[in-house]
Protein backbone atom coordinates (compact mmCIF):
# COMPACT_ATOMS: atom_id res chain seq x y z
CA UNK A 1 0.00 0.00 0.00
CA UNK A 2 1.30 3.43 -0.87
CA UNK A 3 1.81 5.99 1.86
CA UNK A 4 -0.39 8.51 0.07
CA UNK A 5 -2.97 7.67 -2.55
CA UNK A 6 -4.60 10.59 -4.27
CA UNK A 7 -7.72 9.63 -6.19
CA UNK A 8 -9.41 12.00 -8.60
CA UNK A 9 -8.70 15.00 -6.38
CA UNK A 10 -10.59 18.15 -7.25
CA UNK A 11 -10.29 21.55 -5.61
CA UNK A 12 -12.62 24.13 -7.09
CA UNK A 13 -13.08 27.67 -5.88
CA UNK A 14 -16.63 28.85 -6.40
CA UNK A 15 -17.36 32.03 -8.30
CA UNK A 16 -20.47 33.56 -6.86
CA UNK A 17 -22.53 35.85 -8.95
CA UNK A 18 -25.99 36.63 -10.13
CA UNK A 19 -28.98 37.79 -8.29
CA UNK A 20 -28.84 35.59 -5.23
CA UNK A 21 -25.10 35.19 -5.09
CA UNK A 22 -25.36 31.59 -6.17
CA UNK A 23 -22.37 29.59 -7.28
CA UNK A 24 -22.44 29.98 -11.04
CA UNK A 25 -18.98 28.88 -11.98
CA UNK A 26 -15.76 27.79 -10.41
CA UNK A 27 -12.05 28.15 -10.76
CA UNK A 28 -10.74 24.63 -11.16
CA UNK A 29 -7.44 24.90 -9.35
CA UNK A 30 -7.06 21.14 -9.23
CA UNK A 31 -9.25 19.24 -11.63
CA UNK A 32 -9.18 15.52 -11.07
CA UNK A 33 -5.67 14.26 -10.44
CA UNK A 34 -4.52 10.90 -9.15
CA UNK A 35 -1.10 9.69 -8.09
CA UNK A 36 0.52 7.62 -5.38
CA UNK A 37 3.49 8.39 -3.18
CA UNK A 38 5.50 5.43 -1.96
CA UNK A 39 7.11 5.40 1.43
CA UNK A 40 10.64 6.77 1.57
CA UNK A 41 10.70 8.27 -1.90
CA UNK A 42 10.74 11.88 -3.01
CA UNK A 43 7.86 12.62 -5.29
CA UNK A 44 8.24 15.67 -7.53
CA UNK A 45 5.28 17.75 -8.54
CA UNK A 46 6.23 20.14 -11.31
CA UNK A 47 4.32 22.86 -13.09
CA UNK A 48 4.21 26.51 -13.94
CA UNK A 49 2.73 28.99 -11.50
CA UNK A 50 -1.05 28.67 -11.35
CA UNK A 51 -0.99 25.04 -12.40
CA UNK A 52 -2.46 23.94 -9.08
CA UNK A 53 0.58 22.24 -7.65
CA UNK A 54 0.62 24.29 -4.43
CA UNK A 55 -3.11 23.68 -3.99
CA UNK A 56 -2.48 19.96 -4.31
CA UNK A 57 0.25 20.18 -1.69
CA UNK A 58 -1.97 22.14 0.67
CA UNK A 59 -4.74 19.58 0.22
CA UNK A 60 -2.36 16.83 1.22
CA UNK A 61 -1.46 18.55 4.51
CA UNK A 62 -5.08 19.44 5.10
CA UNK A 63 -4.89 23.20 4.63
CA UNK A 64 -7.24 23.25 1.66
CA UNK A 65 -10.85 22.25 1.56
CA UNK A 66 -11.18 19.49 -1.02
CA UNK A 67 -14.13 19.67 -3.39
CA UNK A 68 -14.21 15.99 -4.27
CA UNK A 69 -11.97 12.98 -4.53
CA UNK A 70 -9.98 11.37 -1.79
CA UNK A 71 -6.53 11.41 -0.28
CA UNK A 72 -5.77 8.16 1.46
CA UNK A 73 -3.07 8.14 4.09
CA UNK A 74 -2.30 4.57 5.08
CA UNK A 75 -5.72 3.74 3.75
CA UNK A 76 -7.64 6.42 5.69
CA UNK A 77 -9.28 9.28 3.82
CA UNK A 78 -7.87 12.43 5.36
CA UNK A 79 -9.94 14.89 3.38
CA UNK A 80 -12.37 14.90 6.29
CA UNK A 81 -11.32 16.96 9.28
CA UNK A 82 -12.65 14.35 11.66
CA UNK A 83 -10.30 11.70 10.35
CA UNK A 84 -7.37 14.09 10.49
CA UNK A 85 -8.14 14.86 14.12
CA UNK A 86 -8.48 11.21 15.01
CA UNK A 87 -5.17 10.30 13.41
CA UNK A 88 -3.34 13.33 14.77
CA UNK A 89 -2.60 13.59 11.08
CA UNK A 90 -0.33 16.62 11.12
CA UNK A 91 1.95 14.91 13.55
CA UNK A 92 2.81 12.61 10.64
CA UNK A 93 2.43 15.02 7.76
CA UNK A 94 4.12 18.40 7.87
CA UNK A 95 4.88 21.19 5.47
CA UNK A 96 7.82 23.37 4.47
CA UNK A 97 6.78 26.70 3.02
CA UNK A 98 8.18 28.70 0.18
CA UNK A 99 8.49 32.07 1.89
CA UNK A 100 10.58 31.38 4.96
CA UNK A 101 10.05 34.86 6.39
CA UNK A 102 6.28 34.84 6.30
CA UNK A 103 6.09 31.24 7.49
CA UNK A 104 7.78 32.12 10.79
CA UNK A 105 5.77 34.29 13.14
CA UNK A 106 7.89 37.44 13.56
CA UNK A 107 6.74 37.86 17.16
CA UNK A 108 7.85 34.45 18.34
CA UNK A 109 11.22 33.15 19.38
CA UNK A 110 12.80 30.30 17.50
CA UNK A 111 12.34 28.05 20.50
CA UNK A 112 8.60 28.64 20.52
CA UNK A 113 8.38 28.26 16.76
CA UNK A 114 10.12 24.91 16.65
CA UNK A 115 8.39 23.66 19.77
CA UNK A 116 4.91 24.53 18.52
CA UNK A 117 4.11 21.14 16.93
CA UNK A 118 5.77 19.38 19.88
CA UNK A 119 3.53 21.21 22.34
CA UNK A 120 0.43 20.24 20.42
CA UNK A 121 1.20 16.64 19.57
CA UNK A 122 3.65 15.41 22.17
CA UNK A 123 3.26 16.37 25.74
CA UNK A 124 6.80 16.66 26.91
CA UNK A 125 8.21 18.13 30.06
CA UNK A 126 9.89 21.53 29.81
CA UNK A 127 13.34 20.03 29.83
CA UNK A 128 12.59 17.26 27.36
CA UNK A 129 11.08 19.79 25.05
CA UNK A 130 14.07 22.07 25.25
CA UNK A 131 16.42 19.20 24.51
CA UNK A 132 14.38 18.16 21.53
CA UNK A 133 14.50 21.71 20.18
CA UNK A 134 18.24 21.92 20.76
CA UNK A 135 18.73 18.64 18.96
CA UNK A 136 16.64 19.84 16.03
CA UNK A 137 18.69 23.02 15.84
CA UNK A 138 21.80 20.88 15.83
CA UNK A 139 20.47 18.77 12.99
CA UNK A 140 19.78 21.77 10.78
CA UNK A 141 23.16 23.25 11.71
CA UNK A 142 22.16 26.20 13.84
CA UNK A 143 23.85 27.11 17.09
CA UNK A 144 22.27 27.13 20.53
CA UNK A 145 22.14 30.94 20.43
CA UNK A 146 19.30 30.73 17.95
CA UNK A 147 16.96 29.51 20.66
CA UNK A 148 16.01 32.92 21.96
CA UNK A 149 16.32 34.89 18.77
CA UNK A 150 13.61 36.07 16.45
CA UNK A 151 13.14 35.12 12.78
CA UNK A 152 14.28 38.44 11.33
CA UNK A 153 17.71 37.94 12.86
CA UNK A 154 18.48 35.11 10.45
CA UNK A 155 19.35 34.89 6.79
CA UNK A 156 16.99 33.34 4.25
CA UNK A 157 18.78 30.00 4.23
CA UNK A 158 18.89 29.85 8.01
CA UNK A 159 15.20 30.68 8.23
CA UNK A 160 14.35 27.93 5.79
CA UNK A 161 16.35 25.54 7.95
CA UNK A 162 14.36 26.67 10.96
CA UNK A 163 11.23 25.91 8.95
CA UNK A 164 12.63 22.47 8.23
CA UNK A 165 13.44 21.93 11.90
CA UNK A 166 9.84 22.75 12.77
CA UNK A 167 8.58 20.41 10.09
CA UNK A 168 10.65 17.45 11.33
CA UNK A 169 10.06 18.17 15.01
CA UNK A 170 7.42 15.48 15.46
CA UNK A 171 9.28 12.90 13.34
CA UNK A 172 6.75 13.04 10.51
CA UNK A 173 6.37 10.37 7.85
CA UNK A 174 5.64 12.78 5.03
CA UNK A 175 6.72 16.35 4.43
CA UNK A 176 5.13 18.48 1.75
CA UNK A 177 7.82 20.87 0.56
CA UNK A 178 6.17 23.71 -1.33
CA UNK A 179 8.92 25.29 -3.42
CA UNK A 180 11.27 25.17 -0.43
CA UNK A 181 14.24 26.73 -2.17
CA UNK A 182 12.69 28.98 -4.82
CA UNK A 183 13.19 32.09 -2.72
CA UNK A 184 16.84 31.35 -1.95
CA UNK A 185 20.15 32.09 -3.63
CA UNK A 186 21.59 29.30 -5.74
CA UNK A 187 24.44 28.62 -3.31
CA UNK A 188 22.03 28.44 -0.39
CA UNK A 189 19.62 26.28 -2.39
CA UNK A 190 22.14 23.47 -2.60
CA UNK A 191 22.82 23.71 1.13
CA UNK A 192 19.14 23.52 2.06
CA UNK A 193 18.46 20.70 -0.41
CA UNK A 194 21.32 18.69 1.03
CA UNK A 195 19.88 19.19 4.51
CA UNK A 196 16.59 17.88 3.27
CA UNK A 197 18.30 14.80 1.83
CA UNK A 198 20.28 14.25 5.00
CA UNK A 199 17.14 14.45 7.10
CA UNK A 200 15.38 12.09 4.74
CA UNK A 201 18.09 9.48 5.27
CA UNK A 202 18.12 10.02 9.01
CA UNK A 203 14.41 9.95 9.68
CA UNK A 204 13.16 7.97 6.69
CA UNK A 205 10.96 10.79 5.56
CA UNK A 206 8.88 10.81 2.40
CA UNK A 207 8.76 14.09 0.50
CA UNK A 208 6.18 15.56 -1.78
CA UNK A 209 8.46 18.02 -3.49
CA UNK A 210 6.68 20.83 -5.28
CA UNK A 211 8.75 22.95 -7.62
CA UNK A 212 8.87 24.68 -10.95
CA UNK A 213 12.61 24.17 -11.20
CA UNK A 214 13.30 21.01 -13.21
CA UNK A 215 16.98 21.07 -12.30
CA UNK A 216 16.21 20.91 -8.60
CA UNK A 217 13.59 18.24 -9.15
CA UNK A 218 16.05 16.08 -11.05
CA UNK A 219 18.44 16.35 -8.11
CA UNK A 220 15.80 15.44 -5.55
CA UNK A 221 13.10 13.22 -6.96
CA UNK A 222 12.65 9.60 -7.93
CA UNK A 223 9.23 10.02 -9.42
CA UNK A 224 7.80 13.06 -11.05
CA UNK A 225 4.37 14.32 -12.04
CA UNK A 226 3.97 17.24 -14.44
CA UNK A 227 0.98 19.42 -13.82
CA UNK A 228 -0.67 21.86 -16.18
CA UNK A 229 -3.88 23.85 -15.67
CA UNK A 230 -5.04 21.71 -12.78
CA UNK A 231 -4.46 18.39 -14.50
CA UNK A 232 -1.59 15.98 -14.77
CA UNK A 233 -0.02 15.76 -18.22
CA UNK A 234 2.73 13.26 -17.57
CA UNK A 235 3.66 10.97 -14.70
CA UNK A 236 6.74 8.78 -14.56
CA UNK A 237 10.10 7.98 -13.11
CA UNK A 238 12.95 10.43 -13.37
CA UNK A 239 14.28 8.55 -16.38
CA UNK A 240 10.88 8.51 -18.11
CA UNK A 241 10.40 12.23 -17.72
CA UNK A 242 13.87 13.49 -18.49
CA UNK A 243 14.88 11.05 -21.20
CA UNK A 244 11.62 9.89 -22.78
CA UNK A 245 9.13 12.72 -22.49
CA UNK A 246 6.02 12.10 -24.57
CA UNK A 247 3.76 15.08 -23.93
CA UNK A 248 4.55 18.28 -25.77
CA UNK A 249 4.20 20.29 -22.56
CA UNK A 250 6.88 18.23 -20.85
CA UNK A 251 9.14 18.53 -23.86
CA UNK A 252 8.71 22.25 -23.85
CA UNK A 253 9.44 22.50 -20.13
CA UNK A 254 12.60 20.43 -20.54
CA UNK A 255 13.74 22.56 -23.44
CA UNK A 256 13.48 25.57 -21.18
CA UNK A 257 16.20 24.29 -18.83
CA UNK A 258 19.19 26.55 -19.44
CA UNK A 259 22.27 24.84 -20.90
CA UNK A 260 25.78 25.94 -20.02
CA UNK A 261 27.28 24.21 -23.07
CA UNK A 262 28.56 27.26 -24.98
CA UNK A 263 30.07 25.40 -27.90
CA UNK A 264 26.75 24.12 -29.16
CA UNK A 265 24.80 27.27 -28.43
CA UNK A 266 23.29 27.50 -31.90
CA UNK A 267 22.26 23.86 -31.89
CA UNK A 268 20.43 24.26 -28.59
CA UNK A 269 18.73 27.33 -29.94
CA UNK A 270 17.62 25.50 -33.06
CA UNK A 271 16.29 22.63 -30.98
CA UNK A 272 14.42 24.96 -28.68
CA UNK A 273 12.82 26.82 -31.54
CA UNK A 274 11.85 23.56 -33.14
CA UNK A 275 10.15 22.31 -30.00
CA UNK A 276 8.36 25.61 -29.62
CA UNK A 277 7.16 25.32 -33.21
CA UNK A 278 5.90 21.81 -32.63
CA UNK A 279 4.19 22.99 -29.48
CA UNK A 280 2.43 25.80 -31.29
CA UNK A 281 1.34 23.46 -34.07
CA UNK A 282 0.20 20.59 -31.93
CA UNK A 283 -1.17 22.31 -28.85
CA UNK A 284 -4.70 22.04 -30.21
CA UNK A 285 -4.16 18.33 -30.65
CA UNK A 286 -2.79 17.71 -27.18
CA UNK A 287 -5.47 19.70 -25.37
CA UNK A 288 -9.22 19.35 -25.65
CA UNK A 289 -11.49 22.12 -26.85
CA UNK A 290 -11.36 23.77 -23.39
CA UNK A 291 -7.58 23.89 -23.49
CA UNK A 292 -7.29 21.17 -20.83
CA UNK A 293 -5.18 18.04 -20.89
CA UNK A 294 -6.68 14.66 -21.80
CA UNK A 295 -6.93 11.77 -19.34
CA UNK A 296 -3.71 9.92 -18.58
CA UNK A 297 -2.87 6.83 -20.60
CA UNK A 298 -0.46 4.22 -19.36
CA UNK A 299 2.46 3.80 -21.77
CA UNK A 300 4.59 1.60 -19.52
CA UNK A 301 4.28 0.23 -16.01
CA UNK A 302 5.44 3.50 -14.46
CA UNK A 303 4.91 6.02 -17.20
CA UNK A 304 1.56 7.66 -17.94
CA UNK A 305 0.90 10.47 -20.38
CA UNK A 306 -2.14 12.60 -21.15
CA UNK A 307 -2.24 11.72 -24.82
CA UNK A 308 -4.97 12.75 -27.23
CA UNK A 309 -7.52 9.98 -27.97
CA UNK A 310 -6.18 8.98 -31.38
CA UNK A 311 -2.63 8.73 -30.03
CA UNK A 312 -3.83 6.89 -27.00
CA UNK A 313 -5.21 4.08 -29.14
CA UNK A 314 -1.67 3.20 -30.13
CA UNK A 315 -1.00 2.21 -26.57
CA UNK A 316 -3.71 -0.37 -26.36
CA UNK A 317 -3.16 -0.51 -22.63
CA UNK A 318 -5.96 0.08 -20.23
CA UNK A 319 -6.68 3.70 -19.44
CA UNK A 320 -5.80 5.00 -16.05
CA UNK A 321 -8.56 6.83 -14.26
CA UNK A 322 -9.16 10.43 -15.19
Amino acid sequence: MSLIEINNLKVHYPIRSGFFNRVTDSVKAVDGISFNIEKGQTYGLVGESGSGKSTTGKSVVGLEKVTSGSILYNGVDITSEKNRKKLNYNRDVQMIFQDSLSSLNPRKRIEDIIAEPLRNFEHLSKNEEKMRVLRLLDIVGLSVDALYQYPHQFSGGQRQRIGIARAVATNPKLIVADEPVSALDLSVQAQVLNFMKKIQREFGITYLFISHDLGVVRHMCNNIAIMNKGRLVEVGSRDDIYNHPLHIYTKRLLAAIPQIDVDHREEHREKRLQIEKIYQEQSSKYYDQNGLAYPLVKVSSMHSVALPPQEAKKYSEKEVEV
Binding site: G62, M95, P106, K108, K130, V144, D145, Q149
Partner: protein, 315 residues
Protein backbone atom coordinates in the same frame (compact mmCIF):
# COMPACT_ATOMS: atom_id res chain seq x y z
CA UNK B 1 21.06 10.14 21.37
CA UNK B 2 21.07 9.95 25.11
CA UNK B 3 24.64 11.16 24.99
CA UNK B 4 23.71 14.30 23.13
CA UNK B 5 20.79 14.87 25.43
CA UNK B 6 23.04 14.92 28.45
CA UNK B 7 25.39 17.30 26.73
CA UNK B 8 22.60 19.72 26.22
CA UNK B 9 21.51 19.39 29.79
CA UNK B 10 24.93 20.62 30.83
CA UNK B 11 24.61 23.57 28.55
CA UNK B 12 21.20 24.47 29.75
CA UNK B 13 22.18 24.68 33.40
CA UNK B 14 25.20 26.87 32.83
CA UNK B 15 24.58 28.93 29.78
CA UNK B 16 20.87 29.26 29.53
CA UNK B 17 20.81 32.27 31.80
CA UNK B 18 23.51 34.05 29.86
CA UNK B 19 21.81 33.14 26.61
CA UNK B 20 18.45 34.35 27.75
CA UNK B 21 19.93 37.67 28.78
CA UNK B 22 21.73 38.07 25.50
CA UNK B 23 18.67 37.08 23.56
CA UNK B 24 16.55 39.51 25.53
CA UNK B 25 18.88 42.27 24.45
CA UNK B 26 18.82 41.32 20.82
CA UNK B 27 15.17 40.43 20.76
CA UNK B 28 12.82 42.22 18.41
CA UNK B 29 11.36 45.10 20.39
CA UNK B 30 7.73 44.67 21.33
CA UNK B 31 5.11 47.07 20.02
CA UNK B 32 5.00 48.78 23.40
CA UNK B 33 8.74 49.32 23.41
CA UNK B 34 8.80 50.70 19.87
CA UNK B 35 6.13 53.19 20.78
CA UNK B 36 7.88 54.16 23.97
CA UNK B 37 11.10 54.81 22.04
CA UNK B 38 9.17 57.00 19.67
CA UNK B 39 7.86 59.04 22.57
CA UNK B 40 11.32 59.50 23.95
CA UNK B 41 12.38 60.87 20.58
CA UNK B 42 9.46 63.25 20.26
CA UNK B 43 9.49 65.87 23.01
CA UNK B 44 5.97 67.35 22.48
CA UNK B 45 4.48 63.87 22.46
CA UNK B 46 6.22 63.06 25.72
CA UNK B 47 4.89 66.30 27.21
CA UNK B 48 1.38 65.46 26.03
CA UNK B 49 1.68 62.02 27.56
CA UNK B 50 2.91 63.40 30.86
CA UNK B 51 0.14 65.99 30.92
CA UNK B 52 -2.60 63.46 30.25
CA UNK B 53 -1.32 60.91 32.75
CA UNK B 54 -0.61 63.53 35.42
CA UNK B 55 -4.00 65.13 34.90
CA UNK B 56 -5.85 61.85 35.19
CA UNK B 57 -3.92 60.97 38.35
CA UNK B 58 -4.56 64.42 39.83
CA UNK B 59 -8.27 64.23 39.09
CA UNK B 60 -8.61 60.75 40.56
CA UNK B 61 -6.66 61.58 43.72
CA UNK B 62 -8.13 65.05 44.24
CA UNK B 63 -11.69 63.78 43.88
CA UNK B 64 -11.06 61.46 46.81
CA UNK B 65 -10.86 64.51 49.05
CA UNK B 66 -14.08 66.04 47.76
CA UNK B 67 -17.33 65.19 49.42
CA UNK B 68 -19.56 64.96 46.37
CA UNK B 69 -22.93 65.15 48.07
CA UNK B 70 -21.86 68.18 50.06
CA UNK B 71 -20.40 69.75 46.97
CA UNK B 72 -23.70 69.36 45.14
CA UNK B 73 -25.69 71.07 47.88
CA UNK B 74 -27.30 74.33 46.87
CA UNK B 75 -25.90 77.37 48.58
CA UNK B 76 -27.90 80.45 47.65
CA UNK B 77 -25.45 82.91 49.17
CA UNK B 78 -22.76 81.99 46.67
CA UNK B 79 -25.10 82.37 43.67
CA UNK B 80 -22.89 82.80 40.57
CA UNK B 81 -19.84 83.83 42.48
CA UNK B 82 -17.12 85.04 40.12
CA UNK B 83 -13.76 83.26 40.06
CA UNK B 84 -11.48 83.96 43.03
CA UNK B 85 -14.39 85.31 45.07
CA UNK B 86 -15.29 83.75 48.44
CA UNK B 87 -12.54 81.20 47.97
CA UNK B 88 -14.04 79.79 44.77
CA UNK B 89 -11.10 79.27 42.47
CA UNK B 90 -13.27 79.06 39.37
CA UNK B 91 -16.40 80.68 40.77
CA UNK B 92 -19.73 79.06 41.47
CA UNK B 93 -22.84 78.18 39.49
CA UNK B 94 -26.52 79.07 39.95
CA UNK B 95 -26.69 76.82 42.98
CA UNK B 96 -23.61 78.38 44.57
CA UNK B 97 -21.67 75.17 43.97
CA UNK B 98 -17.96 75.32 43.37
CA UNK B 99 -17.10 74.96 39.68
CA UNK B 100 -13.53 73.88 40.45
CA UNK B 101 -14.71 70.99 42.59
CA UNK B 102 -17.37 69.99 40.09
CA UNK B 103 -14.72 70.12 37.40
CA UNK B 104 -12.50 67.71 39.27
CA UNK B 105 -15.25 65.23 40.10
CA UNK B 106 -16.79 65.68 36.65
CA UNK B 107 -13.47 65.04 34.96
CA UNK B 108 -13.02 61.88 36.96
CA UNK B 109 -16.48 60.67 36.00
CA UNK B 110 -16.17 61.58 32.35
CA UNK B 111 -12.67 60.21 31.92
CA UNK B 112 -13.60 57.10 33.87
CA UNK B 113 -16.56 56.42 31.60
CA UNK B 114 -14.47 57.14 28.50
CA UNK B 115 -11.80 54.74 29.73
CA UNK B 116 -14.32 52.04 30.59
CA UNK B 117 -16.04 52.50 27.26
CA UNK B 118 -12.70 52.30 25.46
CA UNK B 119 -11.70 49.12 27.25
CA UNK B 120 -15.03 47.34 26.72
CA UNK B 121 -15.76 48.47 23.19
CA UNK B 122 -12.20 47.99 21.99
CA UNK B 123 -11.97 44.51 23.49
CA UNK B 124 -15.23 43.56 21.86
CA UNK B 125 -14.39 45.23 18.55
CA UNK B 126 -10.96 43.61 18.43
CA UNK B 127 -12.35 40.16 19.18
CA UNK B 128 -15.13 40.65 16.62
CA UNK B 129 -12.72 41.81 13.94
CA UNK B 130 -10.21 39.04 14.62
CA UNK B 131 -12.81 36.29 14.55
CA UNK B 132 -14.59 37.66 11.51
CA UNK B 133 -11.36 38.18 9.61
CA UNK B 134 -9.72 34.93 10.59
CA UNK B 135 -12.52 32.48 9.94
CA UNK B 136 -13.85 34.17 6.82
CA UNK B 137 -16.54 32.36 4.88
CA UNK B 138 -20.00 32.17 6.38
CA UNK B 139 -18.87 33.31 9.82
CA UNK B 140 -17.47 36.49 8.29
CA UNK B 141 -20.51 36.96 6.10
CA UNK B 142 -22.89 36.73 9.05
CA UNK B 143 -20.79 38.97 11.27
CA UNK B 144 -20.51 41.55 8.51
CA UNK B 145 -24.28 41.62 8.06
CA UNK B 146 -24.64 42.34 11.77
CA UNK B 147 -22.04 45.07 11.40
CA UNK B 148 -23.82 46.59 8.39
CA UNK B 149 -27.08 46.59 10.25
CA UNK B 150 -25.62 48.20 13.37
CA UNK B 151 -24.13 50.90 11.18
CA UNK B 152 -27.60 51.85 9.99
CA UNK B 153 -29.01 52.37 13.45
CA UNK B 154 -29.39 55.98 14.51
CA UNK B 155 -26.89 55.52 17.30
CA UNK B 156 -27.30 58.67 19.38
CA UNK B 157 -31.08 58.38 19.26
CA UNK B 158 -31.06 54.74 20.25
CA UNK B 159 -28.79 55.45 23.20
CA UNK B 160 -31.00 58.32 24.35
CA UNK B 161 -34.13 56.19 24.03
CA UNK B 162 -32.56 53.30 25.93
CA UNK B 163 -31.37 55.63 28.66
CA UNK B 164 -34.92 56.98 28.99
CA UNK B 165 -36.41 53.51 29.18
CA UNK B 166 -34.04 52.36 31.90
CA UNK B 167 -34.97 54.41 34.92
CA UNK B 168 -32.29 53.25 37.23
CA UNK B 169 -28.94 53.59 35.66
CA UNK B 170 -25.53 54.62 36.84
CA UNK B 171 -22.10 55.15 35.34
CA UNK B 172 -21.59 51.42 34.81
CA UNK B 173 -24.84 50.75 32.99
CA UNK B 174 -24.30 53.89 30.94
CA UNK B 175 -20.85 52.67 29.91
CA UNK B 176 -22.32 49.32 28.93
CA UNK B 177 -25.05 50.94 26.84
CA UNK B 178 -22.48 53.05 25.01
CA UNK B 179 -20.31 49.99 24.49
CA UNK B 180 -23.10 48.24 22.60
CA UNK B 181 -22.71 50.78 19.82
CA UNK B 182 -19.15 52.03 19.78
CA UNK B 183 -17.22 48.88 18.86
CA UNK B 184 -18.07 49.09 15.18
CA UNK B 185 -15.20 51.22 13.90
CA UNK B 186 -12.58 49.15 15.70
CA UNK B 187 -14.01 45.88 14.45
CA UNK B 188 -13.91 47.01 10.83
CA UNK B 189 -10.32 48.13 11.10
CA UNK B 190 -9.14 44.98 12.86
CA UNK B 191 -11.03 42.75 10.47
CA UNK B 192 -9.36 44.14 7.38
CA UNK B 193 -5.91 43.75 8.93
CA UNK B 194 -6.71 40.24 10.14
CA UNK B 195 -7.83 39.24 6.65
CA UNK B 196 -4.41 40.21 5.31
CA UNK B 197 -2.55 38.69 8.24
CA UNK B 198 -4.37 35.34 8.11
CA UNK B 199 -3.17 34.74 4.57
CA UNK B 200 0.45 34.66 5.73
CA UNK B 201 2.21 31.34 5.88
CA UNK B 202 2.93 31.42 9.59
CA UNK B 203 -0.78 30.94 10.19
CA UNK B 204 -0.79 27.95 7.84
CA UNK B 205 2.26 26.65 9.68
CA UNK B 206 0.44 26.94 12.99
CA UNK B 207 -2.54 25.09 11.57
CA UNK B 208 -0.35 22.22 10.41
CA UNK B 209 1.37 22.30 13.79
CA UNK B 210 -1.97 21.39 15.28
CA UNK B 211 -2.61 24.64 17.12
CA UNK B 212 -6.31 25.30 17.65
CA UNK B 213 -7.92 28.24 15.88
CA UNK B 214 -8.57 30.32 19.01
CA UNK B 215 -4.97 30.08 20.05
CA UNK B 216 -3.90 31.06 16.55
CA UNK B 217 -6.19 34.07 16.59
CA UNK B 218 -5.21 35.44 19.95
CA UNK B 219 -1.63 34.21 20.37
CA UNK B 220 -0.33 34.29 16.80
CA UNK B 221 -2.29 36.84 14.80
CA UNK B 222 -3.14 39.35 17.51
CA UNK B 223 0.47 40.05 18.61
CA UNK B 224 1.24 40.83 14.99
CA UNK B 225 -1.35 43.57 14.80
CA UNK B 226 -0.67 44.88 18.29
CA UNK B 227 0.65 48.23 17.13
CA UNK B 228 -2.54 48.83 15.19
CA UNK B 229 -4.51 47.90 18.29
CA UNK B 230 -2.58 50.30 20.50
CA UNK B 231 -3.02 53.16 18.03
CA UNK B 232 -6.71 52.53 17.48
CA UNK B 233 -7.40 52.23 21.20
CA UNK B 234 -5.68 55.53 21.94
CA UNK B 235 -7.58 57.33 19.22
CA UNK B 236 -10.90 55.87 20.25
CA UNK B 237 -10.22 56.95 23.83
CA UNK B 238 -10.02 60.54 22.57
CA UNK B 239 -13.25 60.07 20.64
CA UNK B 240 -15.03 58.40 23.52
CA UNK B 241 -14.54 61.42 25.77
CA UNK B 242 -16.98 63.17 23.46
CA UNK B 243 -19.58 60.39 23.72
CA UNK B 244 -20.60 60.64 27.35
CA UNK B 245 -20.00 64.38 27.66
CA UNK B 246 -22.13 64.99 24.57
CA UNK B 247 -25.08 63.06 25.93
CA UNK B 248 -24.68 64.56 29.40
CA UNK B 249 -24.67 67.94 27.72
CA UNK B 250 -28.05 67.15 26.15
CA UNK B 251 -29.20 65.96 29.56
CA UNK B 252 -29.33 62.23 28.83
CA UNK B 253 -26.01 61.13 30.22
CA UNK B 254 -25.16 60.87 33.88
CA UNK B 255 -27.92 61.61 36.39
CA UNK B 256 -28.31 65.22 37.42
CA UNK B 257 -26.64 64.87 40.79
CA UNK B 258 -23.52 63.31 39.26
CA UNK B 259 -21.33 66.03 37.79
CA UNK B 260 -19.74 65.45 34.41
CA UNK B 261 -17.86 67.67 32.00
CA UNK B 262 -20.97 67.51 29.82
CA UNK B 263 -23.36 68.74 32.49
CA UNK B 264 -20.97 71.59 33.25
CA UNK B 265 -20.96 72.64 29.61
CA UNK B 266 -24.74 72.39 29.66
CA UNK B 267 -24.65 75.53 31.83
CA UNK B 268 -24.06 77.31 28.53
CA UNK B 269 -27.60 76.43 27.42
CA UNK B 270 -28.89 79.41 29.34
CA UNK B 271 -28.36 82.58 27.24
CA UNK B 272 -27.52 84.47 30.44
CA UNK B 273 -24.95 81.99 31.64
CA UNK B 274 -23.17 81.72 28.35
CA UNK B 275 -22.07 85.36 28.30
CA UNK B 276 -22.36 86.68 31.82
CA UNK B 277 -21.36 83.65 33.83
CA UNK B 278 -18.96 82.14 31.35
CA UNK B 279 -16.87 80.55 34.10
CA UNK B 280 -19.63 78.06 34.77
CA UNK B 281 -19.03 76.24 31.49
CA UNK B 282 -15.93 77.52 29.75
CA UNK B 283 -13.30 75.69 31.87
CA UNK B 284 -15.00 72.37 31.17
CA UNK B 285 -15.11 73.09 27.42
CA UNK B 286 -11.46 74.09 27.44
CA UNK B 287 -10.52 70.99 29.37
CA UNK B 288 -12.26 68.69 26.92
CA UNK B 289 -10.52 70.38 24.00
CA UNK B 290 -7.07 70.12 25.57
CA UNK B 291 -7.65 66.56 26.69
CA UNK B 292 -8.91 65.40 23.30
CA UNK B 293 -6.11 67.15 21.43
CA UNK B 294 -3.45 65.72 23.74
CA UNK B 295 -4.76 62.18 23.59
CA UNK B 296 -5.16 62.24 19.82
CA UNK B 297 -1.68 63.64 19.54
CA UNK B 298 -0.42 60.70 21.54
CA UNK B 299 -2.36 58.46 19.19
CA UNK B 300 -0.79 60.13 16.16
CA UNK B 301 2.68 59.54 17.54
CA UNK B 302 1.80 55.94 18.28
CA UNK B 303 0.58 55.58 14.71
CA UNK B 304 3.84 57.01 13.44
CA UNK B 305 5.71 54.52 15.58
CA UNK B 306 3.66 51.66 14.16
CA UNK B 307 4.60 52.69 10.65
CA UNK B 308 8.32 52.01 10.65
CA UNK B 309 9.02 54.29 7.70
CA UNK B 310 7.85 57.36 9.59
CA UNK B 311 9.55 56.80 12.90
CA UNK B 312 11.48 59.71 14.30
CA UNK B 313 13.47 57.58 16.71
CA UNK B 314 15.22 55.90 13.78
CA UNK B 315 16.72 59.08 12.50
Amino acid sequence: MKQTGENYEEISTEDLKRLSKQAEKEAAPSAGRIIWNEFKADRPALIALVIVVAFILFVVIASLFINTSKMMETNILDYFDAPFKDGFLLGADAGGRSIAQQLIVGSRNSIGIALGLTVISSTFGIAWGLISGYFGGFVDWGMQRVYDFMMMLPMTMMIIVIVTIINNYNAVTLTLIFSCFYWLGTSRLIRSRTLAESKKDYVAASITSGTNPWKIIFREVMPNISSLIIVDTTLSFAENIGVETGLSYLGFGLPAQTPSLGTLIANANDPNNITEYWWTWFPAALEIIILCLAISYIGQVARRAADSSQRKSNK
